[in-house]
């Protein structure tokens, strides 16, 4: 337990330059008492990321939300590297939302490591320099004559040593040095190592408290009854049976929903099921079949509005082309299905609000909730728990807003917990969309035109710079949004998760149609981008080609490992990283396909944590295969047809292929990794399926094709 010392003298406060983006951070004393028998050390905060106890214990703060992407391990590694401590001796703590100390406390856009790379290392290096300066002052020697090694400062000439714990009190009183250099890449000792997740022991023993596990004195559990179909509004309800449910204490109307409060999760969920509600349909109660039909109509002509991108003239290119190809690709809605359903603890009082739970966007959520419950933002605290998955769902704060409104209305702290049915039926889906492609090649087999016409529910605009943009002289991208009451949200690798499938599959179609090897054709087009870039080029053609060549080499491209093994390739540039994959499928005796193996090459610049990087890319591949293969979220008159895992099929162990991943050695600053592993997996499988069967998969989920075992 840490308590801040009440009498902090003026000189204990130190201004720190804005190296950490937060502006001012300081060393104030905090007492650390680990138990009555152990002598309490005093904790000093050298900056927003580094706390050192006078007993020598080093605590590093992770400011970003952890959703399973591994930042709670990777970000403190950046600080530890420069602080020069043994990773084994470091403790990591999650920081709550603190915009005075930290910037960009968000889990989204695969951006945490990218964005922290400079500032976090600088924070570690600056704290280290303060400890060196403190030792130099103690010994009356020049700081330049001292060095550090695993938590100690050493004086070169005399060999004298002092531990960080012995130095921290003095270090905290010294001026904060500016522009402290960071280590050269060649001398990294922690970055690039295989470091396990810092919460592992709490996870494998069941001790880690996720948001859903929150239980406080005076708290009530809450369940909400929501409209069963998108676009419906609540007309009336009868709560007689609900109030007879044991454990249920209150029923409240919250806008268009009904809250049931009580003493246990199950009892309030039972109570919620017993609400008899009358819902009124809205004007737009559409079904999946309606969307499919309308989307096909829209992409058959050019979607409305200005093109997202226009290079050259595609129509003219078609007139001069040797061959022209066209195809339509379709994607269903997908639910995020985090294993930990949406939940949040909220305690809304007139004098302040406590929010505690799983949220990817604490800063935006604080602002939204403050406004909603009419409490000044500075009186709202947000603490992020490790999340049982995010995938983009927890970028939204709808469930936090619900918890806050229920707490405010009921006047008690609540933990609002969604059932799986609430979660799967509750919207914020990956948008449903239809993409139409058209491409042309000249007599030499050169790709001269590429056209992409897309329509989808909110959030699906095409990515105008996506491959092969930049390589093709005539290119046009048009995108149209179709407004519906169905809520959509970013879903791991937004747009990439589908555009990679459609683009990389259609590209494969063209390659096969003109008799070119799919790997060779990709490399040729990337060479076109390099030699004669057309319009803006978002990616580096050499790095892109690098991962394709690597994955092809790993797989032994062109020489499959048996007569019944077929290969497919796909690659995608996303979140500044390059990922290529080769899928191998086996055609069994009954003609059905089984996905055997994925070879994956990644160029994400410097790899910070080997274990975490491999884990999250492997997970991305499995996620990509799983969602391309099995589930779809369909609607009948606005009502989701799938509400749990008995009808919404998730990939399980028996369906998972072997996966081999290699990272390109690099000294380029790290780029995104939480999402980029996913997009190429679906198209690599679809392209392998084509190689095996001659059947082109243009609609997800693939399982509906009947090709797979």
């Amino acid at each position: 337990m840490n308590t801040q010392q009440h009498t902090v003298s003026r000189r204990d406060f130190i201004r720190i330059s804005a190296f950490a983006g937060g502006g001012l951070v300081l060393g104030f004393k905090l007492f650390s008492s680990c138990g009555p028998q152990q002598e309490a050390g005093v904790i000093y905060e050298l900056n927003a990321f580094v706390k050192i106890d006078t007993n020598g214990e080093v605590t590093l703060m992770n400011p970003n939300p952890e959703i399973g992407q591994g930042v709670k391990t990777a970000l403190p590694m950046l600080v530890a590297e420069e602080l020069d401590v043994d990773w084994q001796d470091v403790k990591v703590e999650q920081a709550g939302l603190d915009t005075g100390k930290y910037r960009r406390q968000i889990a989204g856009g695969s951006g945490s490591v990218r964005d922290s790379w400079e500032s976090f290392r600088k924070a570690g290096a600056t704290a280290r320099q303060m400890l060196i300066n403190a030792a130099a002052a103690t010994w009356d020697v020049a700081p330049g004559d001292c060095t550090t090694e695993k938590g100690q400062v050493i004086h070169h000439d005399s060999g004298r040593k002092l531990g960080y714990g012995e130095l921290v009190e003095r270090a905290a009183t010294l001026e904060v040095p500016e522009d402290v250099p960071v280590k050269p890449i060649a001398s990294f000792a922690i970055i690039g190592q295989w470091i396990p997740n810092v919460d592992n022991s709490a996870i494998v023993t069941g001790q880690y408290k996720y948001g859903i596990d929150t239980k406080r004195e005076g708290m009530r559990y809450a369940a909400l009854v929501r409209p069963p179909a998108f676009g419906q509004t609540l007309k009336a309800y009868d709560d007689t049976e609900t109030l007879q449910q044991q454990g249920v204490e209150r029923v409240l109307r919250i806008d268009n929903k009904i809250a049931v409060l009580g003493r246990s999760t199950w009892e309030v969920m039972q109570g919620a099921k017993k609400i008899k509600a009358e819902w009124e349909d809205g004007e737009q109660m559409e079904s999946t079949a309606d969307y499919q039909r309308k989307f096909r109509e829209i992409v058959a002509r050019r979607p409305a509005g200005d093109p997202q991108r226009k290079d050259g003239d595609v129509q003219q290119a078609y007139n001069n082309a040797a061959k022209v190809f066209e195809a339509v690709y379709e994607a269903p809605f997908l639910a995020h299905n985090t294993m930990e359903p949406m939940n949040f603890y909220a305690d809304v009082r007139a004098d302040g609000v406590e929010l505690y739970g799983p949220i990817q966007t604490p800063e935006r959520t604080r602002a939204t909730v403050a406004k909603l419950v009419d409490v000044p933002e500075e009186k709202v605290t947000v603490m992020m728990t490790r999340m049982g998955g995010g995938f983009g769902r927890r970028l939204m704060s709808d469930f936090v807003e619900e918890a806050a409104l229920v707490s405010k209305t009921a006047g008690v702290p609540v933990n609002l917990i969604w059932s799986r049915e609430d979660d799967m039926g509750g919207g914020y889906y990956r948008p449903m969309c239809t993409y139409r492609y058209k491409a042309a090649v000249d007599a030499d087999g050169r790709l001269i035109a590429w056209q992409h016409q897309s329509v989808g529910t909110t959030g699906n605009p095409a990515r105008a710079g996506s491959f092969p943009a930049g390589a093709v002289p005539n290119l046009q991208v048009d995108a149209q949004e179709y407004k519906t009451p169905v809520t959509t949200a970013p879903w791991r690798g937004p747009i990439h998760n589908f555009i990679a499938f459609s683009e990389q599959s259609f590209f494969d179609e063209v390659a096969h149609a003109i008799g070119k090897d799919p790997v060779t054709f990709r490399l040729e087009v990337l060479e076109q981008a390099k030699q004669q870039p057309a319009g803006e080029l978002e990616y580096d053609p050499d790095r892109f080609a690098g991962v394709i060549k690597k994955a092809a080499a790993m797989a032994g491209w062109g020489t499959p490992k048996g007569p019944n093994i077929f290969q497919g390739v796909a690659a995608q540039y996303s979140f500044n990283s390059y990922v290529a994959q080769v899928a191998e499928v086996e055609k069994r005796d009954d003609g059905k396909l089984k996905i055997k193996r994925i070879y994956c090459a990644v160029d994400c610049g410097i790899v910070v944590n080997k274990s975490g990087a491999e884990n999250v890319v492997e997970g991305g591949i499995i996620d990509g295969i799983g969602h391309a293969m099995y589930p779809e979220l369909t609607l009948t008159r606005g009502k989701p047809d799938q509400l749990n895992f008995n009808t919404y099929r998730m990939i399980r162990m028996a369906e998972v292929p072997e996966i081999e991943i290699q990272f390109i050695e690099s000294d380029i600053d790290p780029t995104g990794l939480g999402e980029p592993g996913l997009p190429p997996a679906g198209p690599a499988v679809a392209n392998a399926a084509y190689a095996a069967t001659g059947v082109r998969l243009r609609t997800q989920p693939f399982v509906k094709s009947g090709l797979f075992a």
Binding site: E267, M339, E340, M653
Partner: protein, 151 residues
């Protein structure tokens, strides 16, 4: 309401609850053992897996009354300090991403290894039907094999 005697992690509890309340919610909300997780409520995902005697069961679909007077083990009771070979293997392979499903995965794996100390890939696939949304399946398989070797 009924008074029900439970033995959880070798400790006796007497709970006063609706006998139909699933074991999962009695463990979590009444006894306070939150290591066992809620995922689907219909025995599909396995996040709620516990042992009754040595068998892995999905506690979200077991009315508490049918678990009365039996020996229930949860993730908290697997070892005092995370030293069970399966827990150690999970740490060594660095299995977890978000970590939420892992208690259920571990409990399923422990029950499998008790029945079949050296499972083949097929046997592992057959028993390990729990959902991991992060996709740690291949590391789970590796960890099970490591635990099997070490046992």
């Amino acid at each position: 309401m009924a008074t029900i005697q439970l033995t959880v992690n070798r400790k006796a509890y007497e709970v006063d609850v609706d006998p139909q309340m699933p074991l999962l919610w009695v463990l979590r909300d009444v006894i306070g053992l939150t290591g066992t997780k809620f995922g689907c409520g219909i025995a599909q995902c396995g996040a709620c897996t516990v042992h009754i005697d040595d068998a892995a069961v999905r506690s979200c679909a077991i009315p508490v009354e049918s678990a009365a007077n039996q020996s229930i083990t949860t993730i908290e009771g697997l070892s005092a300090d995370g030293s069970h070979p399966v827990q150690r293997a999970w740490e060594q392979i660095d299995v977890p991403q978000c970590g939420y499903c892992q208690a259920g995965q571990i409990m399923t794996a422990v029950a499998l290894l008790k029945k079949n100390p050296n499972p083949t890939d097929e046997a592992i696939n057959e028993s390990m039907t729990n959902i991991c949304r992060c996709g740690t399946y291949n590391r789970i398989k590796k960890a099970i094999k490591l635990a099997a070797e070490g046992a």
